[in-house]
C-alpha cells in the first residue's frame, strides 16, 4: 500500500477551481442593478451626485473599458494581493479586513473550542450508552440544536443573559472576555451537527471487527471509546469538519452583525447593506480560498492518517 500524496494534478485542479470561482465572484458586479458608478457614490454617502462626480467615478471603476479587460486587471491586482479599495472609505479592503481579522479569529477559535468541548464528551456518552437514554436524549438534543437558527440564539442570549442577568455587555469589543456570546450562538448548530455525525462515526467504528479485537484483548469500553473509536471516527470526520468552516463563515456574518461583534462578518453585512462591492467580492473570494484550502488540506491529512480512506472512495 502506497502512501497517498496530493499530486500535481490535484493542485492544478484546485487552481483551476479557484480561478473559476474568481470569475463567478467578479461577475457578481455585472449582476448588480443600476450604474456601478452611482452605486460607488451612494456607498460614499453621495446619493444625488453631480454629473462630473459620476464621470469621475466611472473612470475610477474603469467602466470605460471592456468587461474582459476589467476582469483581467482586477485578477492581476488580486494575484498581487491588491483587492482594491472599499467604496465607502477608500481604504484598501485588505487593511479594512486586517483591522477586523483579530476579532473574527478570536470568535472562530472560541467557537471551535466550544464545539469540541461540547461535542467530544457528548459523543462519547452517546456512543457508550447507544440506544439507551443518554443516546436518545443526545439525539433529541441534536435535532433541536440543528433547528435553532444562530441569529435566534444570539438574540435570546443577548436579551436573557446580558440584559436580564446582567452578564457581559451588549457592545462586544472583540476581546476574549466577551466572545462567549457569539461563540455559543455559533457553536450550538455546529456542535449539534457534529455530535450527530461523530456519534454515527463512532458507532460505525464500534461495529467493526477492530473494536471486537480490542474488546477481546481485554480493553474496557472507555478505553475502546477514547483510544480507538474516537480517533478513528475523528480522522474520517476531518473532511467534514473542514466543510463546517464553509458554513461558519456564512453563519459568523449573521451572528456577528446581530451581536455587534467587530469582526469581518459584521463588516461584510455592513458592506452588503451599503453595496460596497469590492468588499463583498474580496470577502467571498478570500473565504473561498480559505475554504478550499482547508477542505483539501483536511482531506489530504485524513488520507495521510488513514490511507484506507483514499482507497475506499
Amino acid at each position: 500500500m502506497r502512501l497517498w500524496r496530493p499530486g500535481l494534478s490535484r493542485i492544478v485542479q484546485l487552481i483551476v477551481t479557484l480561478w473559476g470561482a474568481s470569475v463567478v465572484i467578479w461577475s457578481m458586479i455585472l449582476l448588480a442593478p443600476g450604474d456601478p458608478a452611482r452605486r460607488l457614490l451612494i456607498a460614499r454617502g453621495i446619493p444625488d451626485p453631480l454629473a462630473e462626480d459620476v464621470a469621475a467615478a466611472r473612470r475610477e471603476l474603469r467602466l470605460d473599458q471592456p468587461v474582459v479587460v476589467r476582469y483581467v486587471r482586477w485578477l492581476g491586482d488580486v494575484v498581487r494581493g491588491d483587492f482594491g479599495a472599499s467604496w465607502r472609505t477608500n481604504r484598501s479592503v485588505l487593511s479594512e479586513f486586517g483591522d477586523r481579522f483579530g476579532a473574527t479569529a478570536v470568535l472562530g477559535v472560541a467557537t471551535m473550542v466550544f464545539v469540541v468541548v461540547f461535542t467530544v464528551p457528548m459523543t462519547l456518552i452517546a456512543a457508550r450508552w447507544r440506544e439507551r437514554w443518554p443516546d436518545k436524549v443526545m439525539q433529541v438534543g441534536s435535532s433541536i440544536g440543528t433547528s435553532l437558527p444562530s441569529f435566534l440564539v444570539s438574540l435570546v442570549l443577548l436579551h436573557v443573559v446580558v440584559l436580564e442577568w446582567g452578564w457581559g455587555q451588549v457592545l462586544s469589543d472583540g476581546s476574549v472576555g466577551s466572545v462567549w456570546l457569539p461563540a455559543s450562538a455559533l457553536s450550538i448548530g455546529v456542535a449539534a451537527t457534529w455530535t450527530r455525525l461523530l456519534r454515527g462515526g463512532m458507532v460505525g467504528v464500534l461495529d467493526t471487527s477492530l473494536a471486537d479485537i480490542c474488546r477481546s484483548r481485554g480493553a474496557g469500553p472507555w478505553r475502546i471509546m477514547t483510544r480507538v473509536a474516537l480517533p478513528n471516527a475523528l480522522v474520517r470526520f476531518l473532511p467534514f469538519m473542514a466543510l463546517t468552516v464553509g458554513a461558519l463563515v456564512g453563519g459568523a456574518a449573521v451572528v456577528e452583525s446581530v451581536v455587534d461583534w467587530p469582526g469581518m462578518g459584521a463588516y461584510l453585512v455592513d458592506a452588503i447593506n451599503a453595496r460596497d462591492l469590492p468588499v463583498i467580492q474580496a470577502y467571498v473570494l478570500l473565504a473561498t480560498v480559505a475554504y478550499v484550502v482547508t477542505a483539501n488540506g483536511a482531506d489530504v491529512l485524513a488520507r495521510r492518517l488513514d490511507p484506507r480512506l483514499g482507497i475506499e472512495r
Binding site: P33, P47, D48, R91, L163, Q169, V170, D173, S257
Partner: protein
C-alpha cells in the same frame, strides 16, 4: 457611568493603544523634531497600556493630544504652543472623569473636510465654522467675530483673535481664506452654495469673499454643516502628499491637529473614532476628557447598550423608543425642539396619475398630517404645515391641510370613479400608484406603510417599491409614481437656499418629479438677491403656497426632529436642532 462601561472603554482603548503610539511616533518623526520628545510620547503611551484604570486612560487621552500637538507645533512651525487660551468664557471648571461615548449609526468614512461625507466632525465637536446657527435658529459668530455683506457681491469676514488649531498654529486670515478656497475648489457641495466665490486676505484677521452674482445665502453657507469649516489647510495638504485630486487619508490626518474644535480626532478606525480634548481650546478647557464615537449599525444594539450603561448617547434611535423608555431613572428619550427636516413625497409629473394636478391635490388633501406625525410616528415628529417649518421661518403661513371630502370631490372631478369602497377607475384604468422607498430609512418605511393604508378608502391603490438603486430608478419616468425620503426644504443647518435650487427649480438636480414652474425659478433668483428677512419670508411663503396648495408638486408628510436617547448621566442633555450632537457645552448632568 457604570463600572462595566469603564471596562468596555478601557478594553477598546487598549486595542488601539498601539495604533495611537505608532501614529504619534509617525507624526512626530515625520515632522523632524527632536527624537527625545517623540520617545517620551511613546513611552507615556506604553506606560498606560499596563495601567488600565479608567481614570488614567481618560487623562491620557487629553495628555496625548496636548503632547502630540505641542510637539508637532514645536517642530514644524517653530512657534510656542498657546498655553494661555484667549477665552472670554473659562468653560466648565471641572473635567469629567470619563469620555462621552456616543453611538452612531453611520460610518464616519472621512475626516478631510473636502471628502464626501467629511462633515462628521462638525457633529462631534471637531469642526468649527465661521458662523454658527444656534438653537434659536439665528446665526451667531463662531470662528468669525463678524461676517458682513458690504455690497451685493462682497462679504467681509473678521476672524476672532487668538484661536488656534489643534497643532498650536494660529488661525489667521490666510488660513481662513485657504479653507474657503479649498472647499470651493474641491467639494461640490460647498461650491454649489457659493458658486464662483473667491476668498482673499484683506488684513491680518480679515478676509474678503466675493461672488460673481448676488448671493443672499453666503452667511448661511458659512454656517452650513461641513461646507466651510476652518482648518489648517497646510497640515491637510502636507498629510495628503502630492495628489491634489483626492483627499487626505484618515490615518495621515489623525494627530495632525488640523481642526479648531474642543475635541479632535486622536484615533480612528472604521467602527470607532476617539476624539481627545484639546486643552488649549479657545473657549476654555473642554469639560470632557474625550469623546468616543462608536458605530453600531444595529438600532436595537444601540438602544440596549445605553440601557445597559455601556454608552451615553444613542443617535438616530427609532421613534418607538419614546414609548419604550418610560423609566424615569433609566435612559431618556430626547428630541430637538424644532422639527427641521421634511420627509418629502415627490410626485412624478411625467406620467399618470400625477400628471393631473387634481389627483396630486386630492392625495395631499387625503393625508391626515396630524395622524402621520402623532399616531404613526408617536408624536416624535412634527405635524407638516407646509414647505418650511414655522420656527425656522417665523411667520410663514400654514399650507398643508386635510380635507377628505374635497379630496374625494377632486378625484370625482378628474373622472376617477369609485364603486363602493374599492379602487377608483377611469376608462378601465385603476387609480393606482407606486411609492418608492429608500431602503435605509426606518421612518420613511413606517410612513409609506401608513400612507398605503390611509389612502385606500379614497380609492387609491398603492404598491410599495423598495429599490436598490433609488436614484437610477428616479431617472426613469416610467418606473415610479411617488417616492418618499428624508430631504427637506431646509439644509441641516437651517438654510433654504441649496434645497430650493435642488428641489424646486427647473434645473434642480433633485427635482425628481420634473416640474418646471417659471414662477418658482423666478422666486429662486429673488431669494438669492433678497436682503431682508421680510423679503425672504414673502418669497418662501409664496413658494410654499405654489408647491403645496396650488400645484401640489410635492407633499411634505411630516417634519422630522433630531432624537437622541441619553443615559441617566446625561439627563439634561439638549438635542441640537442643527445636528450639533457634541459641543463645547456638552457635559454630564451636575
Amino acid at each position: 457611568m457604570t463600572q462595566r462601561s469603564n471596562l468596555a472603554f478601557t478594553q477598546s482603548r487598549l486595542r488601539w493603544r498601539t495604533t495611537l503610539a505608532v501614529i504619534a511616533l509617525a507624526g512626530v518623526v515625520g515632522a523632524a523634531c527632536s527624537s527625545d520628545d517623540s520617545s517620551s510620547t511613546v513611552a507615556d503611551s506604553a506606560t498606560t497600556v499596563a495601567d488600565t484604570t479608567a481614570e488614567t486612560v481618560a487623562e491620557t487621552v487629553a495628555e496625548t493630544v496636548a503632547e502630540a500637538a505641542a510637539t508637532t507645533v514645536d517642530s514644524a512651525d517653530n512657534t510656542t504652543p498657546v498655553s494661555d487660551p484667549s477665552s472670554t468664557d473659562p468653560g466648565s471648571a471641572e473635567v469629567a472623569d470619563d469620555p462621552l461615548i456616543v453611538l452612531n449609526s453611520y460610518e464616519i468614512a472621512f475626516i478631510d473636510p473636502v471628502a464626501s461625507g467629511g462633515f462628521w466632525l462638525y457633529d462631534f465637536g471637531g469642526q468649527e465654522n465661521l458662523l454658527e446657527r444656534k438653537d434659536d435658529g439665528k446665526l451667531h459668530p463662531w470662528i468669525a467675530e463678524s461676517v458682513e455683506r458690504v455690497d451685493p457681491l462682497t462679504w467681509t469676514i473678521t476672524v476672532r483673535d487668538g484661536i488656534t488649531y489643534g497643532n498650536g498654529g494660529e488661525v489667521d486670515a490666510e488660513g481662513v481664506a485657504a479653507s474657503i478656497n479649498r472647499q470651493i475648489a474641491e467639494r461640490s457641495g460647498s461650491r454649489n452654495l457659493i458658486p464662483g466665490g473667491v476668498a482673499t486676505v484683506s488684513g491680518p484677521l480679515e478676509v474678503m469673499l466675493t461672488t460673481p452674482e448676488p448671493n443672499a445665502g453666503v452667511a448661511d453657507a458659512l454656517a452650513e454643516r461641513g461646507a466651510f469649516p476652518v482648518y489648517d489647510v497646510d497640515a491637510v495638504v502636507a498629510a495628503d502628499g502630492v495628489d491634489e485630486d483626492t483627499f487626505a487619508d484618515n490615518d495621515l490626518l489623525i494627530g495632525t491637529g488640523f481642526l479648531t474644535g474642543p475635541y479632535q480626532p486622536v484615533e480612528f478606525s472604521a467602527d470607532e473614532m476617539t476624539l481627545g480634548a484639546y486643552a488649549d481650546y479657545w473657549q476654555g478647557t473642554p469639560p470632557l476628557p474625550g469623546v468616543v464615537v462608536r458605530r453600531v449599525i444595529d438600532e436595537q444594539a444601540r438602544m440596549l447598550a445605553v440601557q445597559n450603561g455601556e454608552a451615553d448617547l444613542n443617535l438616530y434611535p427609532p421613534v418607538e423608543a419614546a414609548r419604550l423608555l418610560t423609566n424615569a431613572d433609566g435612559p431618556q428619550f430626547k428630541a430637538s425642539t424644532i422639527a427641521l427636516q421634511g420627509v418629502t413625497m415627490d410626485l412624478n409629473l411625467q406620467s399618470a396619475p400625477f400628471d393631473d394636478v387634481k389627483v396630486r391635490q386630492a392625495l395631499a388633501l387625503a393625508l391626515d398630517y396630524d395622524m402621520l406625525a402623532n399616531d404613526v410616528l408617536d408624536g416624535v415628529f412634527g405635524v407638516a404645515t407646509g414647505l418650511y417649518p414655522e420656527p425656522v421661518v417665523p411667520g410663514i403661513v400654514e399650507r398643508s391641510t386635510t380635507d377628505p371630502e374635497r379630496a374625494s370631490a377632486l378625484l370625482d372631478e378628474a373622472g376617477w370613479v369609485q364603486d363602493g369602497d374599492g379602487v377608483r377607475t377611469r376608462g378601465g384604468e385603476k387609480l393606482s400608484f407606486t411609492i418608492l422607498r429608500a431602503a435605509q430609512d426606518p421612518e420613511t418605511n413606517s410612513l409609506a406603510i401608513a400612507i398605503q393604508e390611509l389612502v385606500k378608502p379614497f380609492g387609491f391603490e398603492v404598491e410599495l417599491l423598495t429599490s436598490e438603486d433609488f436614484f437610477t430608478v428616479l431617472e426613469d419616468p416610467e418606473a415610479w409614481d411617488a417616492t418618499i425620503f428624508l430631504t427637506g426644504l431646509m439644509s441641516s443647518s437651517g438654510a433654504p437656499y441649496g434645497p430650493f435650487f435642488n428641489k424646486l427649480t427647473t434645473e434642480g438636480p433633485n427635482n425628481n418629479g420634473k416640474f418646471s414652474d417659471p414662477e418658482l425659478d423666478a422666486l429662486y433668483l429673488d431669494l438669492l438677491a433678497s436682503e431682508t428677512d421680510d423679503e425672504r419670508l414673502e418669497i418662501l411663503d409664496r413658494t410654499s403656497e405654489i408647491v403645496v396648495t396650488e400645484q401640489a408638486y410635492l407633499i411634505i408628510t411630516t417634519f422630522k426632529r433630531y432624537v437622541v436617547v441619553v443615559s441617566p448621566e446625561y439627563s439634561d442633555y439638549v438635542v441640537s436642532n442643527f445636528r450639533r450632537h457634541v459641543t463645547f457645552d456638552t457635559a454630564p448632568a451636575a
